[in-house]
């Protein structure tokens, strides 16, 4: 312990080249981004901006309009970028003083790098526009190269810091290794989830629609969200979504799936396999064909299969069933597709239960029901968590079968769910007036709901408990 302390005191992290590089890069950043930005905000005078470099102008979002005036383009993320730079720099500066622990130094250095990268990215995107205006073109290019040099310095500094940190702390090195192993997954999640979600959010703060897409976007704040929440059908859509997800999940995607898995696992392997194969048919049937089949089932006599059966039973004058009981069909149609996913997951989980456990339970006195209740189901906790979580999320965002089956009807919003609304607002309105930004607001809230639900599920299922604790080898 004491040796550790002396070591860190005599050889503070970042004492070498890394610290000075970070400091230099930070100063360049402050010069290029922060000061002009502050001055602009403080004076609130657009003319001040004229004296700034192109890069600075880009950073604060100034674009010269055709009539010679300046348009204040509040692309908010361009504000965020220098702000992140300031925060990163402040945090980093704190840790340029000796005595902080190595991991923090390294991580903060990384944070600064990332923040600067965001800043440069923002500046670059904006300066592309600025550069098209003659006046500031040259200067913008110049400012950009300065920013790139600063970024390069930061990255090198961060790398040196990280290397120093990892050589000092084996634990930190191990943590870095762990992060390295996660890189492929992390990159995928960032590229295909976080970035789209951020873009969606940005889009939702504008007024972009098919009516004005040829003009520059206007930042409208949370107007789209206000409009969404004050929609008189909002409560109805919310209720529909809950009903749709809860019923389909409970009775089919988990309930029926579990039942099918248990049944097919207790018959001979071949029969079980065939049975499961049959249940996969709805999933591999093209959506439109699948819905047409259901419509045929529900048709009025003499076409509808269901009504033919009813006719044989002596029930006359049967209606077209889908508008009669739209919710029954919405749940059935989705559930027949959804059940196969859980069925496959549960089946493989059941078959993975060691045979000895089953034998032990039988010998201990368990009948079939006790065996399922006490052994099989508890051991299916992880697949259950997975299927419930995964299927909740996929049901939340699914709408194509409802779109094809009822299109949210019959009547107004009878079976309209959230994802369908988002789709209709953004991409399918009459007269081609697609409200992309408004639809994005619906979509983004759905993303938030999904994220929150996932966290809740992980808590409820006590995910951490599923990780085995280390063995205590004493006897």
């Amino acid at each position: 312990m004491s040796t550790n302390l002396t070591e860190s005191a005599t050889q503070p992290l970042g004492a070498g080249r890394g610290r000075w590089l970070l400091l230099a890069a930070g100063l360049v950043l402050v010069g290029c981004f922060i000061l002009p930005w502050l001055s602009f905000v403080i004076t609130a005078d657009q003319r001040v901006a004229l004296s700034l470099t192109g890069l600075q102008a880009a950073t604060i979002g100034l674009v010269e309009t055709t009539d010679g005036g300046l348009l204040y383009r509040s692309s908010f993320w361009l504000f965020l970028a220098p702000l992140a730079g300031v925060v990163g720099l402040a945090l980093g500066a704190l840790n340029l003083f000796p005595g902080r622990s190595a991991p923090w130094q390294g991580l903060l250095a990384l944070f600064i790098s990332v923040a600067s990268a965001v800043a440069v990215w923002g500046a670059f995107a904006a300066s592309q526009e600025v550069a098209q205006k003659e006046k500031v073109a040259v200067e913008a290019q110049w400012g950009l190269s300065v920013a790139f040099i600063a970024l390069l310095l930061l990255l090198v500094g961060a790398l040196i810091l990280l290397r120093e940190a990892s050589s000092q702390k084996p634990a930190f090195r191990a943590a870095l290794d762990a992060l390295n192993f996660m890189t492929p997954g992390t990159v995928l999640v960032i590229v295909f989830f976080f970035l789209p979600a951020i873009i969606l959010f940005i889009l939702s703060l504008t007024d972009l629609s098919s009516a004005n897409f040829s003009e520059p976007w206007t930042y409208v704040g949370f107007d789209n969200y206000k409009r969404m929440f004050s929609d008189r059908f909002f409560p109805k859509i919310l209720r529909n979504t809950f009903q749709y997800v809860a019923l389909t999940l409970l009775f089919f995607n988990v309930g029926l799936a579990l039942l099918l898995a248990l049944l097919t696992a207790h018959v001979s392997r071949r029969v079980g396999f065939l049975f499961r194969l049959l249940w996969l048919l709805p999933r591999i049937t093209p959506s439109v064909v699948y819905i047409v089949m259901w419509q045929r089932i529900a048709q009025q006599p003499p076409y509808g299969i269901l009504n033919q059966f009813l006719g044989w039973l002596g029930v006359e004058n049967q209606p077209y069933w889908i508008p009669e009981a739209p919710w029954v069909f919405v749940v059935l149609v989705n559930g027949f597709v959804g059940a196969s996913f859980g069925m496959i997951i549960f089946t493989s989980a059941i078959e993975a239960i060691p045979a000895d456990l089953i034998i032990a339970a039988k010998v201990d006195g368990a009948g079939d029901l006790a065996l399922i209740r006490d052994i099989t189901l508890p051991l299916l906790r992880w697949p259950l968590l997975f299927v419930v979580t995964y299927q909740t999320l996929s049901l939340l965002v699914s709408f194509e079968y409802i779109l094809l089956l009822t299109n949210g009807g019959p009547g107004l919003f009878t079976t309209e769910v959230w994802a369908l609304t988002a789709y209709k607002r953004a991409l399918q309105t009459y007269f081609g007036s697609n409200q992309w930004a408004y639809g994005a607001a619906w979509g983004f809230v759905l993303v938030l709901i999904g994220a929150i639900l996932s966290v809740i599920y992980l808590r409820v299922f006590r995910f951490n408990d599923l990780v085995q604790e280390p063995k205590i080898d004493v006897l």
């Binding site: 060691p354 000895d356 456990l357 034998i359 032990a360 339970a361 039988k362 010998v363 201990d364 006195g365 368990a366 009948g367 006790a370 006490d374 052994i375 508890p378 051991l379 906790r381 085995q468 604790e469 063995k471 205590i472 080898d473 004493v474 006897l475």
Partner: protein, 363 residues
């Protein structure tokens, strides 16, 4: 409880797991099923447990035929090589599970679980999960779970195979002692002949689904009925080699190249005059004399390998193309290549017919 297997057979298609097994187990007896992997011992055990349905034959508990009785109604306890503890239950719930299924009252259950756990020396671990226990502790829990409902038959399926060598010794004697104290009829499946020899009252040796012998350990050791038993039972294993048995005047000799063993007449009588006989001699029944002494009896060879076992040295002696294992006094200084003379104890030599693989002494 008495257990009786009558021509018990299990087949899957044309694969035979157990073939015509007939044996009886006395009440309170400890019987081992011994044999190499795939010999049908576990198949037979699982039929006794009621997990497999016999293809033919019958299983009797006392005088009741139980072929159609479900495992849960057979009142048996079972211990597995994998322990087979329920990973999602605590030790307390694991041990109490058979009682819970019997719908015992909570207070009685608590008491009996505690008593069994104390007996197994795991009373302080009741709130742990199986994953938090060592292998030995898990096996004690498994044993406790098998014992808690006071079964009339205990089944062990290689319960010690996953434990380290030292722990295996301890558990071996503990299980043996426990079985004696409780007097529960037990079947113990193992491929480890030492386990079978040390623990069982009688051993059923099985090979390829067939029952080869069913006898007390020392009888199996002293009077192996087949070549398979002779080679399988005993550690280090018996030396088996081809000989000719000849009569020379009054003497009866087993001979092979430069090797010669004098047989007592009552032992070698049936083998006399046969061209091909398989002789078996245990390593402890051969004495080893260093040097190249002149006597013509026995055999002259050279040391091929010396394996010190501590109490003895296991010496691999090469006689022409034949390798024999001999237990020798470790104080004898032996080097590889040393000439040695071997003397065989004629009273301990086993003789087998290579055609039938049966003993010429005990069948």
């Amino acid at each position: 409880m008495r257990v009786e297997l009558n021509e018990l057979t299990k087949r899957w298609g044309n694969v035979t797991g157990a073939d015509n097994i007939t044996l009886d187990i006395r009440s309170g007896e400890f019987v081992a099923f011994l044999g190499p992997s795939g010999c049908g011992k576990t198949t037979t055990l699982l039929m006794v447990a009621g997990i497999y349905k016999p293809t033919a034959g019958e299983i009797r508990f006392d005088d009741r035929v139980v072929n159609q009785v479900a495992p849960k109604d057979r009142n048996i306890g079972m211990v597995f090589q994998s322990y087979a503890l329920y990973p999602h239950m605590s030790v307390r719930q694991n041990i109490g599970y058979p009682l819970k299924l019997k719908k015992s009252p909570a207070s009685e259950m608590e008491q009996r679980v505690q008593r069994v756990a104390d007996m197994m020396g795991i009373g302080h671990l009741l709130d742990r999960r199986p994953a938090q226990l060592s292998g030995g502790q898990q096996q004690r829990v498994a044993l406790g779970r098998a014992l808690v409902k006071e079964p009339s038959l205990l089944l062990f399926d290689e319960p010690l195979s996953n434990l380290d060598a030292r722990l295996r010794l301890t558990m071996r004697s503990e299980i043996k002692r426990l079985q004696l104290d409780l007097g529960i009829t037990s079947i113990y499946v193992t491929h480890d002949q030492v386990e079978a020899m040390t623990m069982a009252d009688r051993i059923a040796v099985m090979q390829e689904g067939k029952l080869q012998a069913y006898a007390p350990p020392n009888e199996l050791y002293e009077r192996p009925r087949t070549i398979f038993i002779a080679g399988f039972v005993g550690n280090p294993p018996m030396n088996l080699f081809d000989v000719q048995v000849l009569r020379e005047g009054e003497r009866l000799l087993a001979r092979r190249q430069n090797l010669e063993i004098e047989l007592p007449p009552e032992r070698g009588g049936r083998a006399a005059g046969k061209e091909e006989i398989i002789a078996g001699v245990r390593p402890e029944d051969i004495s080893l004399i260093p040097g190249a002494a002149g006597s013509s009896e026995g055999a002259q060879g050279e040391v091929f390998v010396v394996e010190p076992l501590g109490r003895d040295n296991l010496v691999d002696v090469r006689i022409d193309d034949l390798h024999l294992f001999v237990l020798a006094d470790p104080r004898q200084p032996l080097k590889i290549g040393d000439p040695v003379r071997l003397h065989f104890d004629g009273d301990k030599v086993q003789l087998f017919d290579p055609e039938t693989e049966l003993s010429l002494l005990w069948t």
